[in-house]
Every structure is written in C-alpha cells, then in structure tokens.
C-alpha cells in the first residue's frame, strides 16, 4: 500500500512539507500536521528503523468546466520525515486525521517515564 501511494504521486505532482507543531506531554510526544485535502484513507505513516515518514496523498481532481481565474496556493501531496530516538515506543504510535489535520501520538517508552519518578530510599 505504502509503495503504490508513493509511486503514483511521485510521477508528476508537487510535494509539500506540511507545517507541523510538536509538543511534549508527560507521557507522549504529539506531532500535529496541517494536511488539507487528506483523510484517514489517503495518509501513510511508516516507520523504518528510526525513520518516521508521513505521506499524504490528495485527490487533485480539477473542477469541471471551470477555469482558474487566480491562484494563491498550490495543491500537491505531502511528505515529511523525522527521526525517532530509542525512547519512543514504536509499537504504540497512534494516528488520527480530522478536518485535514493529522495528529500523531508517540508514547514515550516505559523506561524513560519511570526514570522521572524514581524515588531513592533513605538510608
């Protein structure tokens, strides 16, 4: 699936890097990306080793019988890649898309979560 999506889009479409916000909560890293035109069926998220790639494909059908009078923004697919540290639990990454916004929840591994609340016993 991931391959076909990429193969089609690579041919003659523009690819944009989506704007992202990244923030850290107690248990997760959140990545939020603006990908207008994309829904849950047209986004691929792949993890290969420590490489996380977001790829979104838009449906670029032109408007029937309409001519473009003026254009201030371009339309294309989306791609952006990030490298993950070992402290992210790769097996529990969750992704949702709503109104063209992708939200990725990357849980921190138990190892680093517990490190923060370590209590040393008094001797």
């Amino acid at each position: 699936m991931a391959e076909t999506v990429k193969d089609i889009s690579r041919k003659n479409r523009k690819i944009y890097a989506p704007a992202v916000d990244i923030f850290e909560t107690a248990n997760n890293i959140l990545v939020i990306a603006d990908m207008p035109g994309v829904d849950e069926k047209s986004v691929d998220i792949t993890i290969e080793k420590n490489l996380l790639t977001i790829h979104g494909m838009i449906d670029s059908t032109t408007h029937d019988n309409l001519e473009l009078a003026f254009s201030e923004y371009g339309v294309g697919d989306y791609q952006r890649a990030f490298s993950l540290s070992d402290e992210i639990d790769r097996s529990n990454i969750k992704a949702t898309v709503k109104d063209g916004v992708l939200k990725l929840v990357l849980p921190k591994s138990e190892k680093i979560k517990t490190r923060k609340i370590e209590v040393i016993k008094e001797t």
């Binding site: 990908m35 035109g37 473009l68 109104d99």
Partner: protein, 143 residues
Amino acid sequence: MLIRELERLENLLEPWREFDRINRETFRTLSPSRVEFPPVNLWKNEDKAVVTTEIPGVDPEGVEINVVGKTITLRFERKPEELKEGESYTRKERWYGEFSRTIELPFNVQVDKVEAKFSRGILYIEMPRAEAEKPRKITVLPE
C-alpha cells in the same frame, strides 16, 4: 531530543521542497496587512464562481461567510492546542488566530444561492452568477 527532523537528507533529495517551506514560513511571518491570509483560489465560468481555501482544523460552525454583490468575506478562527503545565512546544509552525479575508469576485452573484462545503480542511464556496449579468444571446426576429 526524542524526535528530530531529517532536514538535511530531505534538502539533498529535493531542494525545491526546502525552498517551498521557506516561502511558506516567510508568508506566515509577514504581517497580515501585507500578505492576505488565507490564500484562496478562484475558479469561474459563465454561470458561477468557486472560491476554495485551505483552513484545516478550523471548526466549520465558526466560519462566517458574507456575500454582498461582488465581494465575499470569510471570517474564522483557529485556536492553538491548550498545553498543560510542564508541557512545551518543541516546534510550532502552524498558524493560529482570527482571520478575515475579502475577495473581489468577477461578477455579481446570487446571494441566496451561495453554497459552502467544508471537507478535509478545505472550504469550497460555490456562487451562481446573478441572472441579470449572465451573457445572453439575442435572437434576431424577422421583420
């Protein structure tokens, strides 16, 4: 860092993408009075005009659309994610705030027949041309 962007690798592969990113960033940081936001595309034919704009994550209920004669005004807001204490952004590129944009249309439209859809973060507004303004064919009557 728990997550880091592979910027160098990307740039080597496709330098124009970085150019585009810089362009967009410049666009965002310029004052709204100089560059109009959000960017729109305008489509038309003899019967109608269509305005599209990308406003992902905006609540469609809060989008205000006003059409008067030959102009359309869009008003909307996008709020930032509310972070709890101790949480922090490591990257903040997405736009936030209240926006208003007025667009001049190529002709007068039928205000009561304007239709707007919001799908996958894209606002699509279709406006039929005012009947009185449509190009007409005039039949020549025989004497």
